[in-house]
């Protein structure tokens, strides 16, 4: 592979992976903050108000880092992927610009109001500010997912004489079925991160023996939301997304499942190591005929394997794709189990004393992040070798004017900068959590 191409790909992959650690939490927390605010308003309960303020502060820190790491994402469309932008800007410029106009302004304006304006607003007004932040963050997610969905499954475009694509139908772009399934799956994934983080912080307080009143609220809200969204993540959203891949990107499906040979009654590989040069999967544990059923709802359905497609249309890193996909699905399954057991214990009134379960909730914190990252890697590596599926190859999209050396220099720069940001983030979040929900933030002197 051309080293400039590799570096530009890594540049985007690294910055977007780091960036998405923050929006997934803000999008996940936003509806939970609305829930806390609603209960607070209904019961006129100061504890819930305080809990909402606490999570709004966590939200705020994540939002700031999300914005400063989000600006590079938008810039990179021009700086590192200028040939792609010239080709596709006439279509995806729509969704990217709409994100700015409809989502960012809404979210940032009302977040400021929610964080700093409680004294100047009525309780109802403050609740509306929370709703506006929720709306803004979820709209923002939609426009980004719609952009990616267009790259996965281009619709509503026409090719113009200069070779670029231009918008021909706005509604096809916005109502792209791929966008809606992917959005539902993605937002449910973000909500899982929000729910696990909330439950995990709750478990931390109970195990610590401090702020226990809040710990119980966080666990209750986190576990109930977690159960709902971990199930939704599998069905219908994950299932719907999977069937779209089967229909429109059959070669991607074959690579995700490491299915080298076509055939009826294809098995589902639970675990095993794909050996691409030998075109086989080593040491597999399988469920017979399951893949046929999941993809086409018939046990004997024919599923096309990689041998049905020319190798130059195969995703260029099949093992990475296979493992990302299996990590995502495996973790998703474990999440359902964790939330089922927690919800059962909660219902029986035993969860708050079950230290072993609290430890599991506490330690589960990083895994939703890993699952979300693995899911996005599945989507993006699965789309390869295409940048826009069937229309433009990734190798044709990067900035030819920006040399590999310059790309590497700024990639290293971002790695350094993001390390600093990461330390800063951990420092700020740790401080908020240790100070606890009851502490009015000390503005310093």
């Amino acid at each position: 592979m051309d080293s400039a191409l590799l570096i530009h790909r890594l540049h985007f992959a690294f910055t977007v992976t780091f960036h998405y650690l923050f929006p997934q939490l803000t999008m996940g927390l936003a509806p939970l903050i609305v829930v806390l605010k609603t209960i607070a308003l209904r019961r006129n309960d100061e504890t819930y108000h305080q809990a909402a303020r606490f999570w709004a502060r966590i939200f705020g820190i994540n939002f700031v880092i999300g914005v400063v790491t989000g600006i590079p994402m938008e810039f990179q469309f021009g700086t590192n992927w200028s040939h792609f932008s010239r080709f596709a800007g006439g279509v995806i410029g729509q969704t990217l610009a709409m994100e700015g106009m409809f989502a960012f302004f809404l979210e940032s304006a009302f977040l400021g109001l929610f964080l700093f304006g409680e004294k100047r607003l009525s309780p109802k007004g403050h609740w509306w500010a929370a709703v506006a932040v929720f709306l803004g963050s979820w709209l923002s997610g939609f426009f980004i997912v719609a952009t990616d969905a267009w790259m996965q499954h281009p619709v509503g475009y026409a090719t113009s004489p200069d070779g670029s694509v231009q918008l021909s139908s706005f509604w096809q772009l916005v109502l792209n079925p791929w966008a809606w399934w992917q959005y539902a799956h993605n937002m449910s994934g973000a909500a899982i991160t929000g729910a696990f983080v909330m439950a995990s912080v709750g478990a931390f307080y109970l195990l610590w023996g401090k702020y226990q009143e809040y710990g119980r609220i966080f666990i209750r809200v986190g576990v109930i939301a977690g159960l709902v969204f971990t199930v939704l993540q599998l069905f219908p959203t994950g299932d719907g997304q999977g069937r779209l891949v089967a229909e429109h990107q059959p070669v991607t499906l074959a690579a995700m499942e490491a299915l080298f040979e076509s055939g009826p009654g294809a098995p589902l590989v639970l675990i095993g190591q794909p050996d691409v040069p030998a075109r086989r999967i080593d040491n597999p544990i399988i469920i017979p005929k399951m893949l046929s059923f999941l993809s086409y709802r018939r046990w004997e359905a024919e599923v096309r394997g990689l041998n049905s497609f020319p190798p130059d249309t195969w995703p260029d890193n099949i093992p990475l794709l296979y493992f990302s996909y299996h990590i995502m699905v495996g973790l998703g399954t474990i999440f359902i189990a964790i939330m089922l057991v927690s919800a059962f214990l909660l219902w029986r009134g035993k969860l708050f004393d079950a230290n072993w379960m609290l430890w599991i909730l506490l330690l589960s914190l990083p895994f939703p992040y890993i699952a979300n990252t693995a899911g996005w890697m599945t989507a993006e590596i699965g789309r390869q070798p295409w940048l826009v599926y069937g229309l433009m190859r990734t190798a044709d999209g990067y900035s030819k004017m920006v040399s590999a050396g310059n790309g590497l220099f700024t990639l290293l720069g971002f790695m350094g900068m993001y390390t600093v940001l990461g330390f800063l983030f951990v420092f700020l979040i740790r401080r908020e959590i240790e100070n606890g929900p009851t502490t009015v933030p000390d503005a310093g002197h």
Binding site: I61, F63, V67, V68, T69, I71, P72, E74, F75, F77, G78, T79, N80, S82, H83, S85, R86, A88, G89, G90, V91, Q94, L96, A97, M98, E99, G100, M101, F102, F104, F105, L106, S108, A109, F110, G112, L113, F116, G117, K119, R120, S160, S164, Q166, L167, S168, S399, M401, V402, N406, T410, M417, V420, L424, F427, L428, R431, P441, A443, G444
Partner: protein, 346 residues
């Protein structure tokens, strides 16, 4: 249609510069007008609830530019690769400075983050000015519509200039001084006591310098790009723009002296908008001039998105803008008045 979007994009960029300009400006003068911890907190408080929201305008303006002129976005952003990356890093450093300062108690670390915040604000102002300078002067576009510019060559103009030459450095200094005054007037407006006094004195001191630099930059621009006069001669109504620029500057000086804080700040907004509008008025219909051969100029015609997309965009953009203006009016009304040091936040 391409012209409509030219105006929209120019106005959004102007909105970004006016809005983020005052919090960048507050950063530039931060160390001078705030001597004690409490005074510095006051300055931070005045921009605390809005700086991040103002930065969102950069995203929105960038998104709109990308939408309307994808070809321009592709060329300019890849051509200005290195300085743009530095802008990104500076924006991050600045955010780190603002947010971390609040959360540490050690005075040495406070001082450290204060300096980071102030220096990155000043450098950003210079970078943005230099970027505008590059756009006016022209860049070495090739026949394929792409270019790559070194950070500097020999600091002289010519077909193969660097990002920095004497003209763009001058533009950077103009931006630094302009935003310093803009920030000083904002801080004057939002604070009381010593900080208010110092900021006002600062603005009063900067104003004449700003007037002189504006004149110098006008003459220099005339020298660098003699064709700027063409649009003005073709549409004499354009001469209103320099009239507004100088008028607002003089009013700014006058009102600052008289202590009319709001009017003075407003005239600074008008001045900045006027400077930017004057520049793009001269460029139109070119959006990125080529220093190599005028035939390679990027214009609104050869860099715009398709007609259907632009038409559809006008519908949602108008809707989005109405909503946005609504939020911003509401937010600034909610936070109106001088900042207080009690309560939560910065």
């Amino acid at each position: 249609m391409e012209t409509v979007w030219f105006i929209i994009v120019a106005l959004m960029i102007a909105a970004y510069v006016v809005l983020d300009g005052f919090d960048l400006g507050a950063g530039i003068i931060y160390l001078i007008v705030g001597k004690t911890g409490d005074e510095r907190r006051k300055v931070l408080r005045s921009i605390g609830p809005v700086w991040d929201g103002n930065e969102v305008w950069l995203l929105a303006a960038g998104g709109t530019l990308y939408f309307a002129y994808p070809q321009l976005y592709a060329s300019a952003f890849s051509g200005f690769y290195l300085p743009l990356m530095m802008v990104l890093w500076l924006l991050m450093l600045r955010g780190i400075g603002i947010e971390l300062r609040v959360h540490v108690d050690n005075p040495v670390w406070r001082g450290f983050f204060d300096v980071i915040f102030s220096i990155s604000s000043a450098l950003l102002a210079i970078f943005f000015g230099a970027a505008l300078g590059n756009v006016i002067r022209g860049v070495p576009l090739g026949p394929d519509g792409y270019f790559f510019e070194a950070l500097w060559t020999n600091f002289r103009l010519g077909p193969h200039p660097g990002i920095l030459d004497w003209y763009t450095v001058m533009a950077g200094v103009v931006a630094l001084v302009t935003l310093a005054a803009h920030g000083a007037l904002y801080v004057t407006l939002k604070t009381d006591g010593e900080v208010n006094q110092r900021s006002r004195r600062m603005a009063t001191a900067i104003c004449p310098l700003q007037l002189a630099l504006t004149l110098v930059s006008l003459v220099a621009t005339w020298f660098v790009r003699p064709s700027i006069k063409e649009n003005y001669l073709a549409y004499p109504v354009g001469f209103l723009i320099p009239a507004i620029v100088f008028g607002s500057l003089i009013l700014m000086l006058l009102w600052t002296r008289q202590g009319k804080e709001f009017s003075a700040f407003l005239s600074s907004c008008v001045y900045i908008t006027g400077m930017l509008v004057g520049a793009v008025f001269a460029l139109y219909p070119v959006v990125l001039p080529a220093s190599t051969d005028p035939a390679y100029n990027l214009t609104i015609h050869n860099s715009a998105a398709g007609h259907h997309g632009l038409t559809v965009g006008l519908v949602w953009w108008t809707l989005g803008m109405i909503l946005t203006i609504g939020y911003f009016v509401y937010i600034y009304r909610t936070f109106r008045g001088k900042v207080q040091l009690e309560g939560g936040g910065y």
